[in-house]
Symmetry: C3
Subunit: 107 residues, 3 copies
Protein backbone atom coordinates (compact mmCIF):
# COMPACT_ATOMS: atom_id res chain seq x y z
CA UNK A 1 0.00 0.00 0.00
CA UNK A 2 1.23 3.44 -0.92
CA UNK A 3 0.04 6.93 -0.12
CA UNK A 4 0.33 9.47 -2.91
CA UNK A 5 0.40 13.11 -1.87
CA UNK A 6 -0.25 15.22 -4.95
CA UNK A 7 -0.21 19.00 -5.02
CA UNK A 8 -1.94 20.46 -8.07
CA UNK A 9 -3.25 23.88 -8.91
CA UNK A 10 -6.85 24.62 -7.95
CA UNK A 11 -7.71 24.92 -11.66
CA UNK A 12 -6.86 21.27 -12.19
CA UNK A 13 -8.05 19.81 -8.92
CA UNK A 14 -11.55 18.90 -10.08
CA UNK A 15 -10.45 17.14 -13.25
CA UNK A 16 -7.61 15.32 -11.47
CA UNK A 17 -9.97 14.26 -8.73
CA UNK A 18 -12.71 13.00 -11.04
CA UNK A 19 -10.29 11.20 -13.37
CA UNK A 20 -8.80 9.37 -10.37
CA UNK A 21 -12.24 8.53 -9.01
CA UNK A 22 -13.36 7.24 -12.42
CA UNK A 23 -10.34 4.89 -12.37
CA UNK A 24 -11.42 3.64 -8.93
CA UNK A 25 -8.83 5.49 -6.88
CA UNK A 26 -9.94 6.95 -3.59
CA UNK A 27 -9.12 10.60 -3.30
CA UNK A 28 -9.26 13.00 -0.37
CA UNK A 29 -8.79 16.66 -1.07
CA UNK A 30 -7.21 18.99 1.45
CA UNK A 31 -7.56 22.74 1.22
CA UNK A 32 -4.12 24.18 0.59
CA UNK A 33 -2.85 27.72 0.61
CA UNK A 34 0.29 28.92 -1.09
CA UNK A 35 2.90 26.45 -1.92
CA UNK A 36 4.78 24.39 -4.33
CA UNK A 37 3.48 25.67 -7.59
CA UNK A 38 1.82 28.96 -6.82
CA UNK A 39 -0.84 30.33 -4.52
CA UNK A 40 -4.06 28.41 -5.05
CA UNK A 41 -3.14 24.76 -4.79
CA UNK A 42 -4.99 21.67 -3.69
CA UNK A 43 -3.30 18.78 -1.94
CA UNK A 44 -4.79 15.36 -2.57
CA UNK A 45 -4.27 12.14 -0.67
CA UNK A 46 -4.61 8.97 -2.72
CA UNK A 47 -4.30 5.57 -1.12
CA UNK A 48 -3.41 2.82 -3.59
CA UNK A 49 -1.97 -0.64 -4.06
CA UNK A 50 1.72 -0.67 -4.91
CA UNK A 51 1.09 -1.88 -8.46
CA UNK A 52 -1.26 0.99 -9.28
CA UNK A 53 1.01 3.87 -8.25
CA UNK A 54 2.23 4.45 -11.80
CA UNK A 55 -1.31 4.51 -13.16
CA UNK A 56 -2.35 7.10 -10.58
CA UNK A 57 0.69 9.25 -11.38
CA UNK A 58 -0.08 9.07 -15.08
CA UNK A 59 -3.67 10.22 -14.51
CA UNK A 60 -2.54 13.10 -12.29
CA UNK A 61 0.02 14.15 -14.92
CA UNK A 62 -2.49 14.00 -17.76
CA UNK A 63 -4.98 16.20 -15.95
CA UNK A 64 -2.53 18.81 -14.67
CA UNK A 65 -0.33 19.50 -17.67
CA UNK A 66 1.85 22.59 -17.54
CA UNK A 67 0.54 25.07 -20.06
CA UNK A 68 0.62 28.72 -20.92
CA UNK A 69 -2.56 30.72 -20.71
CA UNK A 70 -3.21 34.24 -21.91
CA UNK A 71 -4.98 36.32 -19.28
CA UNK A 72 -6.00 39.96 -19.47
CA UNK A 73 -3.94 42.33 -17.36
CA UNK A 74 -4.40 45.99 -16.64
CA UNK A 75 -1.71 48.59 -16.05
CA UNK A 76 -2.00 52.30 -15.46
CA UNK A 77 0.30 54.13 -17.85
CA UNK A 78 -0.73 57.61 -16.85
CA UNK A 79 -2.65 59.23 -14.04
CA UNK A 80 -6.21 58.12 -14.40
CA UNK A 81 -5.69 56.20 -17.63
CA UNK A 82 -5.35 52.45 -17.96
CA UNK A 83 -4.32 50.01 -20.64
CA UNK A 84 -5.52 46.43 -20.80
CA UNK A 85 -3.13 43.94 -22.41
CA UNK A 86 -2.75 40.17 -22.48
CA UNK A 87 -0.17 38.42 -20.29
CA UNK A 88 1.15 34.87 -20.55
CA UNK A 89 0.95 32.89 -17.33
CA UNK A 90 2.16 29.38 -16.61
CA UNK A 91 -0.56 27.21 -15.12
CA UNK A 92 -0.85 23.55 -14.17
CA UNK A 93 1.86 21.21 -13.06
CA UNK A 94 1.92 18.77 -10.19
CA UNK A 95 4.23 17.89 -7.31
CA UNK A 96 3.93 14.27 -6.24
CA UNK A 97 5.25 12.40 -3.20
CA UNK A 98 4.87 8.63 -2.88
CA UNK A 99 5.11 7.31 0.69
CA UNK A 100 5.04 3.76 1.94
CA UNK A 101 2.07 2.78 4.08
CA UNK A 102 2.75 0.32 6.91
CA UNK A 103 -0.86 -0.32 7.71
CA UNK A 104 -4.07 0.56 5.91
CA UNK A 105 -7.53 0.12 7.36
CA UNK A 106 -11.08 0.88 6.37
CA UNK A 107 -13.34 0.75 9.40
CA UNK B 1 7.31 6.76 16.09
CA UNK B 2 4.37 6.48 13.73
CA UNK B 3 2.12 8.96 12.05
CA UNK B 4 -1.53 8.02 11.75
CA UNK B 5 -3.52 9.76 9.05
CA UNK B 6 -7.21 9.21 9.75
CA UNK B 7 -10.03 10.39 7.53
CA UNK B 8 -13.39 10.45 9.30
CA UNK B 9 -16.69 12.11 8.54
CA UNK B 10 -17.21 15.61 9.91
CA UNK B 11 -20.00 14.25 12.12
CA UNK B 12 -17.52 12.09 14.00
CA UNK B 13 -14.49 14.36 13.99
CA UNK B 14 -15.16 16.04 17.32
CA UNK B 15 -15.77 12.84 19.24
CA UNK B 16 -12.79 11.08 17.62
CA UNK B 17 -10.60 14.07 18.37
CA UNK B 18 -11.64 14.41 22.00
CA UNK B 19 -11.45 10.66 22.70
CA UNK B 20 -7.89 10.64 21.33
CA UNK B 21 -6.93 13.72 23.34
CA UNK B 22 -8.41 12.21 26.51
CA UNK B 23 -6.15 9.17 25.95
CA UNK B 24 -3.14 11.52 25.66
CA UNK B 25 -2.73 11.35 21.89
CA UNK B 26 -1.83 14.53 20.10
CA UNK B 27 -4.20 15.29 17.28
CA UNK B 28 -4.06 17.86 14.50
CA UNK B 29 -7.16 18.32 12.39
CA UNK B 30 -6.95 19.32 8.75
CA UNK B 31 -9.93 20.71 6.89
CA UNK B 32 -10.83 18.24 4.17
CA UNK B 33 -13.21 18.47 1.27
CA UNK B 34 -14.73 15.54 -0.55
CA UNK B 35 -13.02 12.27 -0.46
CA UNK B 36 -12.74 8.82 0.82
CA UNK B 37 -16.02 8.41 2.54
CA UNK B 38 -18.23 11.18 1.26
CA UNK B 39 -18.18 14.95 1.02
CA UNK B 40 -17.61 16.44 4.45
CA UNK B 41 -14.61 14.66 5.89
CA UNK B 42 -11.93 15.64 8.33
CA UNK B 43 -8.35 14.39 8.09
CA UNK B 44 -6.50 14.01 11.36
CA UNK B 45 -2.80 13.64 11.98
CA UNK B 46 -1.87 11.67 15.09
CA UNK B 47 1.76 11.20 16.11
CA UNK B 48 2.29 8.24 18.39
CA UNK B 49 4.79 5.74 19.74
CA UNK B 50 4.87 2.46 17.84
CA UNK B 51 3.32 0.52 20.72
CA UNK B 52 0.27 2.77 20.94
CA UNK B 53 -0.79 2.61 17.29
CA UNK B 54 -3.35 -0.13 17.94
CA UNK B 55 -4.87 1.79 20.83
CA UNK B 56 -5.26 4.91 18.68
CA UNK B 57 -6.86 2.89 15.88
CA UNK B 58 -9.29 1.29 18.34
CA UNK B 59 -10.34 4.70 19.64
CA UNK B 60 -10.84 6.07 16.12
CA UNK B 61 -12.89 3.01 15.19
CA UNK B 62 -15.08 3.24 18.29
CA UNK B 63 -15.93 6.87 17.67
CA UNK B 64 -16.60 6.60 13.95
CA UNK B 65 -18.71 3.46 13.62
CA UNK B 66 -20.51 2.92 10.34
CA UNK B 67 -24.23 3.30 10.94
CA UNK B 68 -27.44 3.96 9.13
CA UNK B 69 -29.35 7.16 9.82
CA UNK B 70 -32.80 8.11 8.69
CA UNK B 71 -32.91 11.61 7.27
CA UNK B 72 -35.87 13.46 5.80
CA UNK B 73 -35.81 13.89 2.05
CA UNK B 74 -38.07 15.84 -0.24
CA UNK B 75 -39.05 15.03 -3.79
CA UNK B 76 -41.36 16.83 -6.14
CA UNK B 77 -43.88 14.37 -7.60
CA UNK B 78 -45.90 16.89 -9.49
CA UNK B 79 -45.53 20.47 -10.58
CA UNK B 80 -45.65 22.56 -7.45
CA UNK B 81 -46.32 19.68 -5.09
CA UNK B 82 -43.78 17.97 -2.90
CA UNK B 83 -43.61 14.86 -0.79
CA UNK B 84 -41.36 14.47 2.23
CA UNK B 85 -40.19 10.95 3.03
CA UNK B 86 -37.43 9.38 5.11
CA UNK B 87 -34.25 8.10 3.46
CA UNK B 88 -31.60 5.80 4.91
CA UNK B 89 -28.08 7.11 4.63
CA UNK B 90 -24.82 5.46 5.62
CA UNK B 91 -22.74 7.64 7.89
CA UNK B 92 -19.49 7.20 9.81
CA UNK B 93 -16.58 5.00 8.94
CA UNK B 94 -12.88 5.78 8.90
CA UNK B 95 -9.97 5.38 6.52
CA UNK B 96 -6.66 5.01 8.30
CA UNK B 97 -3.06 5.11 7.04
CA UNK B 98 -0.14 4.34 9.34
CA UNK B 99 3.21 5.73 8.18
CA UNK B 100 6.64 5.31 9.69
CA UNK B 101 8.26 8.44 11.09
CA UNK B 102 12.04 8.71 10.69
CA UNK B 103 12.45 11.67 12.98
CA UNK B 104 10.07 13.37 15.39
CA UNK B 105 10.78 16.65 17.13
CA UNK B 106 8.96 19.02 19.42
CA UNK B 107 10.69 22.40 19.40
CA UNK C 1 14.11 12.60 -0.57
CA UNK C 2 12.28 13.37 2.64
CA UNK C 3 8.96 14.95 3.45
CA UNK C 4 8.85 17.22 6.46
CA UNK C 5 5.47 17.79 8.06
CA UNK C 6 5.72 20.78 10.37
CA UNK C 7 2.92 22.05 12.58
CA UNK C 8 3.47 25.60 13.78
CA UNK C 9 1.21 28.22 15.28
CA UNK C 10 -0.56 30.54 12.86
CA UNK C 11 1.43 33.46 14.32
CA UNK C 12 4.66 31.94 13.07
CA UNK C 13 3.49 30.38 9.83
CA UNK C 14 4.32 33.34 7.60
CA UNK C 15 7.85 33.81 8.91
CA UNK C 16 8.57 30.06 8.86
CA UNK C 17 7.23 29.85 5.33
CA UNK C 18 9.19 32.80 3.97
CA UNK C 19 12.43 31.79 5.72
CA UNK C 20 12.16 28.32 4.16
CA UNK C 21 11.36 29.76 0.75
CA UNK C 22 14.31 32.16 0.98
CA UNK C 23 16.54 29.14 1.62
CA UNK C 24 15.12 27.47 -1.52
CA UNK C 25 12.86 24.99 0.20
CA UNK C 26 9.48 24.33 -1.35
CA UNK C 27 6.67 24.79 1.12
CA UNK C 28 2.98 23.96 0.92
CA UNK C 29 0.75 25.25 3.65
CA UNK C 30 -2.35 23.37 4.75
CA UNK C 31 -5.09 25.00 6.73
CA UNK C 32 -5.20 23.35 10.13
CA UNK C 33 -7.68 23.57 12.93
CA UNK C 34 -6.97 22.69 16.54
CA UNK C 35 -4.19 20.38 17.31
CA UNK C 36 -0.78 19.74 18.55
CA UNK C 37 0.11 23.07 20.02
CA UNK C 38 -3.13 24.91 20.43
CA UNK C 39 -6.07 26.00 18.31
CA UNK C 40 -4.80 28.04 15.39
CA UNK C 41 -2.05 25.99 13.78
CA UNK C 42 -0.73 25.68 10.29
CA UNK C 43 0.62 22.43 8.88
CA UNK C 44 3.35 22.76 6.28
CA UNK C 45 4.65 20.19 3.85
CA UNK C 46 8.29 20.59 2.86
CA UNK C 47 9.91 18.28 0.32
CA UNK C 48 13.68 18.17 0.59
CA UNK C 49 16.83 16.22 -0.21
CA UNK C 50 18.00 14.00 2.63
CA UNK C 51 21.06 16.15 3.30
CA UNK C 52 19.04 19.32 3.81
CA UNK C 53 16.59 18.01 6.41
CA UNK C 54 18.61 19.40 9.32
CA UNK C 55 18.84 22.83 7.71
CA UNK C 56 15.08 22.94 7.19
CA UNK C 57 14.46 21.89 10.80
CA UNK C 58 16.84 24.57 12.05
CA UNK C 59 15.00 27.24 10.07
CA UNK C 60 11.61 26.08 11.33
CA UNK C 61 12.90 26.09 14.91
CA UNK C 62 14.40 29.57 14.60
CA UNK C 63 11.18 31.06 13.32
CA UNK C 64 8.82 29.36 15.75
CA UNK C 65 10.57 29.74 19.09
CA UNK C 66 8.52 29.09 22.20
CA UNK C 67 8.04 32.36 24.01
CA UNK C 68 5.83 34.02 26.57
CA UNK C 69 3.65 36.90 25.52
CA UNK C 70 1.65 39.24 27.70
CA UNK C 71 -1.88 39.69 26.42
CA UNK C 72 -4.68 41.74 27.91
CA UNK C 73 -7.45 39.76 29.51
CA UNK C 74 -10.76 40.85 30.92
CA UNK C 75 -12.66 39.34 33.81
CA UNK C 76 -15.93 40.35 35.38
CA UNK C 77 -15.45 40.62 39.11
CA UNK C 78 -18.90 41.89 39.88
CA UNK C 79 -22.20 42.17 38.09
CA UNK C 80 -21.71 44.71 35.36
CA UNK C 81 -18.13 45.63 36.31
CA UNK C 82 -15.02 44.38 34.59
CA UNK C 83 -11.31 44.42 35.27
CA UNK C 84 -8.66 44.27 32.56
CA UNK C 85 -5.36 42.66 33.51
CA UNK C 86 -2.40 41.18 31.65
CA UNK C 87 -2.02 37.43 31.26
CA UNK C 88 1.06 35.44 30.22
CA UNK C 89 0.47 33.04 27.35
CA UNK C 90 2.86 30.56 25.79
CA UNK C 91 3.09 30.96 22.03
CA UNK C 92 5.20 29.42 19.29
CA UNK C 93 6.72 25.99 19.19
CA UNK C 94 6.73 23.44 16.41
CA UNK C 95 5.95 19.77 15.99
CA UNK C 96 7.96 18.15 13.22
CA UNK C 97 7.65 14.76 11.50
CA UNK C 98 10.22 13.59 8.96
CA UNK C 99 8.99 10.88 6.59
CA UNK C 100 10.87 9.01 3.91
CA UNK C 101 9.73 9.60 0.34
CA UNK C 102 9.91 6.62 -2.02
CA UNK C 103 9.30 8.58 -5.17
CA UNK C 104 9.23 12.31 -5.85
CA UNK C 105 8.07 13.86 -9.11
CA UNK C 106 7.53 17.31 -10.50
CA UNK C 107 5.33 17.13 -13.57
NI1 LIG D 1 2.90 -1.11 0.84
NI1 LIG E 1 9.13 4.68 14.49
NI1 LIG F 1 14.89 9.60 0.32
Amino acid sequence: MKLILAIVSNDDSSSVSSALTKANFQVTRLATTGGFLRAGNTTMIVGTDDDKVDQAIEIIGNESKRRTEIVPSTASYDIGRYASFPVEVQVGGATIFVLDVEKFLKL
